[in-house]
Symmetry: D2
Amino acid sequence: MIKVGIIGSTGYAGGELVRLLMGHKDAEIVWYGSRSYIDKKYAQVYQNMFQIVDAVCMDDNMEELANQVDVIFTATPQGLCGSLMNEEILSKVKIIDLSADFRIKDVAIYEAWYGIEHKSPQFIEEAVYGLCEINREDVKKARLVANPGCYTTCSILTAYPLAKEGVIDMSTLIVDAKSGTSGAGRGAKVANLYCEVNENIKAYGVASHRHTPEIEEQLGYAAGEKVVINFTPHLVPMNRGILVTEYATLKKDVTYEDVKAIYDQYYEKEKFVRVLEKDVCPETKWVEGSNYVDVNFKIDPRTNRIIMMGSMDNLVKGAAGQAVQNMNLMFGLKETEGLELVPMFP
Amino acid sequence: MIKVGIIGSTGYAGGELVRLLMGHKDAEIVWYGSRSYIDKKYAQVYQNMFQIVDAVCMDDNMEELANQVDVIFTATPQGLCGSLMNEEILSKVKIIDLSADFRIKDVAIYEAWYGIEHKSPQFIEEAVYGLCEINREDVKKARLVANPGCYTTCSILTAYPLAKEGVIDMSTLIVDAKSGTSGAGRGAKVANLYCEVNENIKAYGVASHRHTPEIEEQLGYAAGEKVVINFTPHLVPMNRGILVTEYATLKKDVTYEDVKAIYDQYYEKEKFVRVLEKDVCPETKWVEGSNYVDVNFKIDPRTNRIIMMGSMDNLVKGAAGQAVQNMNLMFGLKETEGLELVPMFP
Amino acid sequence: MIKVGIIGSTGYAGGELVRLLMGHKDAEIVWYGSRSYIDKKYAQVYQNMFQIVDAVCMDDNMEELANQVDVIFTATPQGLCGSLMNEEILSKVKIIDLSADFRIKDVAIYEAWYGIEHKSPQFIEEAVYGLCEINREDVKKARLVANPGCYTTCSILTAYPLAKEGVIDMSTLIVDAKSGTSGAGRGAKVANLYCEVNENIKAYGVASHRHTPEIEEQLGYAAGEKVVINFTPHLVPMNRGILVTEYATLKKDVTYEDVKAIYDQYYEKEKFVRVLEKDVCPETKWVEGSNYVDVNFKIDPRTNRIIMMGSMDNLVKGAAGQAVQNMNLMFGLKETEGLELVPMFP
Amino acid sequence: MIKVGIIGSTGYAGGELVRLLMGHKDAEIVWYGSRSYIDKKYAQVYQNMFQIVDAVCMDDNMEELANQVDVIFTATPQGLCGSLMNEEILSKVKIIDLSADFRIKDVAIYEAWYGIEHKSPQFIEEAVYGLCEINREDVKKARLVANPGCYTTCSILTAYPLAKEGVIDMSTLIVDAKSGTSGAGRGAKVANLYCEVNENIKAYGVASHRHTPEIEEQLGYAAGEKVVINFTPHLVPMNRGILVTEYATLKKDVTYEDVKAIYDQYYEKEKFVRVLEKDVCPETKWVEGSNYVDVNFKIDPRTNRIIMMGSMDNLVKGAAGQAVQNMNLMFGLKETEGLELVPMFP
């Protein structure tokens, strides 16, 4: 039985980790870290866990945790994991960091977009970017996994096969993304109050959102070239779900069947990526609560562009689910263990 | 492996049955009945099931089904199950009817409130009212189980211990209930359109809702007297969840601890009924997607009334989850098999 | 042109006052008070007011305000208005207090339910309870109006005619109320975040909500007896709207027509109270954005109870609209000026 | 007093026309046409109108209407207005058609995208495209106005100044649009049920939505060249509101101030188009219930693109409000009469 510690267990991603791990037969949470709720019963913070989780919230003592558990999930704000990381910890325990600290290889880019100094850049090189469908073999061997961002997971997987196969002109790629509000976290801010979000949609972080360089880096590896994109996130009045609509100019003269074959080549064997049937558009509701990413595309001969679409539950495949998938790979378990969740509808 | 047939598999309750049974290790759905979608792939009706369910919708041939399966769930409008029932079918297969056809023992009351003639009243006596926490032993031996209504499950379990123990004056009982919109079904009606339900709340079926006599009958058994109540359902802009707020005058001078002890006596060992801690009010979100009913109460010394509250997912404990729980009991399986679902939050 | 000052103009009720007064032809806002946003442009706090309101937020200087304006609206937390009130201010300016400070005649009850000391109890006697339909003549002569609470306005108006006419047994009255989330204000609290409220319903303040004694006092005047009730508010995932469902035992043998005649007697000439047609249940959506209260009732001969229902926009008739209606009365204007708003649907 | 007839008064756009015209001091509705509800009281179809509208629904008799009214609004499905139009009617009455029948000058394009035969193409030439901010002078003289589509109004106004001034490369223009659900109409379809739309977002009509050629035609006039774009609408779980996010490559080296000056040049004097302050993104909530379009933009030097954004209430400026604005122009009234609606928040 793998012993799990969670730092930041009372945020939304942390709470989802708990939900998923409750159904995982080879893992057991032994440390519910939450700086804000130390000594409070976890089930009083998340009442859904009443009679399911009996534990009390602990502090964020990573050194102590390293002695007690096999794997630590850090579901914390940017900078925290980086500031706590050291070789001794890494020698004792595997780390899956849900923050952005180890996602971006170029520390200057990290520091520029996040506006903070990286406290342990020496581990960036070693860290594996935990997008399982793409870096599966590296994840299996990793001590430190950088769990991808929510927008990035969906944005990358939706375009990846076409970037990799050189079908699209990467300089034309535009990602218009829409997210449910749990992506904004559980902090008490006026902008996230029910009455401010409900019956409303807006763009935010236009041309400046922090997931931009992460998408660019990963799709750059796929395309084998430097990639610069427009990425525009929008806040949608729903709890969960990310939808991306991506636009790119085709570099080749391809048919629906050609493109479908490329997607199938990459994803047919992937449990968690579903290439939908022709003309079926991904919807966030169809993946809610599950680890699936649904993708599809439409070629527009009028403009010679392709519109790629992807949907995903931001708290599952976009955070906690992918983190568990990474854990499964790192510990040699069945990759889908604890993740065979059927999407909930309605 | 138990072979399952579902009649009405494309309604919301039917869809939830499919979701739950996908995670049940001893049951397998072999017949997806749906009069409206015959020959259509099930996963095209419910896109969440893409790559999970490969089957095609079948008609509602109960006689044929009886030959092929071990248990039939009928998740259909009132009257259908009653019209198809006969001894030959019942001799071959167990039936769990999610409609109201066999819930009410007095056929005259059924016919009065539902406005239809009962086509097989001879089976009403045999049918077991499938509220597992109350009728567990009878369910185990049943051929025909009447799965309780959504409002009724929550309304009854919330008041049951106090009715049974004679703590409340049953003639004063008022049930004010609030339900998410999936309770209204998947039929295309203007009143259930997004724009009509969203940002809106209303009462409906005031003093005339069909779940009234069902609550009265069951609480009458508990109290050992004829019970007549006010039951008022309300439509709430959310997908899932039922909340009941029940009011009754106390017959005895009781403290919080007295009442808590009574609730615990009935529910402490019940996996799916959670008596919350003092002053914690049930919320539908804390049970979403799970088979739990959360209950609690507050004594008001100013009025000598007790306010009882219960919350539940109408599609799980209020329909499909309870149906699976009944199946588990009828087939001697672990009662919680397939139902150990952690509520999803947010 | 009446000069208006608003203290607390950046809360939701304050914002609604601004919206309504923008369409009022005899009033002009000259002071946008907001302790939290001093010196910030009002239209940057409420972007809907861009190019409509050009003013900057001011502090809460009531003495200075009294010199500059004809009427002050205080849309502030409990206790503030009471702490600022004095005879000099009242001699210069009319006050419409949207807080609870002057609603309850018995200061001991106020202090017990609100848990604060009243700083100017000497003005309670003079203050007029500004439920216009009931206290119209007194409001016209008032210097200080206590604008009723949101729940109370709807709860009282729904039951008032039957309480006044002795049709219902007041000792049996139960008010089950449901409110949209704007009633919780614009403070940044976790409990009011989008993800916590959305897809959720809960009761709160059970047997202890502060609007209880206010309803009891006013309905007590109507009934001519001391009234003690159960009042249970619920939080509903919608921005605006209050629905009350009230239960009481009938003291007389009355028909639908009898009761309808009583409601009509009180409300037929009231612009803002609409007695709906038989069997039409009030819905919050049908009054959204307007100053209407929709009421109706249903007699249940099975239980000898009557179920009364009322719906209202909590920010209009439940706060800002009623405040403007009071202002109109106090200044001898047409009572409906600025309030002839057609409900917005959908 | 202008006499108004509405054909299709019980759809959402028709209902909004009624709401707006109730507050218009120079117009009076004398004919509430609704094929589906003939002889039913209008206020029973839209309960918000109880005690406000006393009329009964009439049939769609355009010939008769032409004798009785001064202006007819047709808020009906595509094809109806075209099929009823003739010279005699147009000689008697002004027509404002909210359907697409007279929006597109090239009848072949209309017939290709809408899949129906145009029954009165002889009037297309005469019809004025009623985007008031652009075609104001022509509207004033028109007998027949084609009221623009909802998506198109927002899409065009957001990009218009930059298209007109040659700042953006029109061949790169991509419009990613998001709409509330009232845009889908009041028809009873499973896809528009509450439970299907709530907690969900999806694209639809990808590369094939009918508003595409309308946007292309109008922006083509502005740019002075043939324009072909990608337009992707999305369905958002909210009642009202359209947000467009538009991407285009800059043709010139421009600063924020340059572009702001261009927007101001076109819109500074326009009451209903608000160019927001720097870095403020349009949100649908800030314009809800009003006739405003909020626009803004962000230059991304990394990609040399500009991101233009616009928000609007689809039922007001996107339908009924613009129709009333057109009526005001056609009859020589103040353009803003009946439209000085302050956006409702929250």
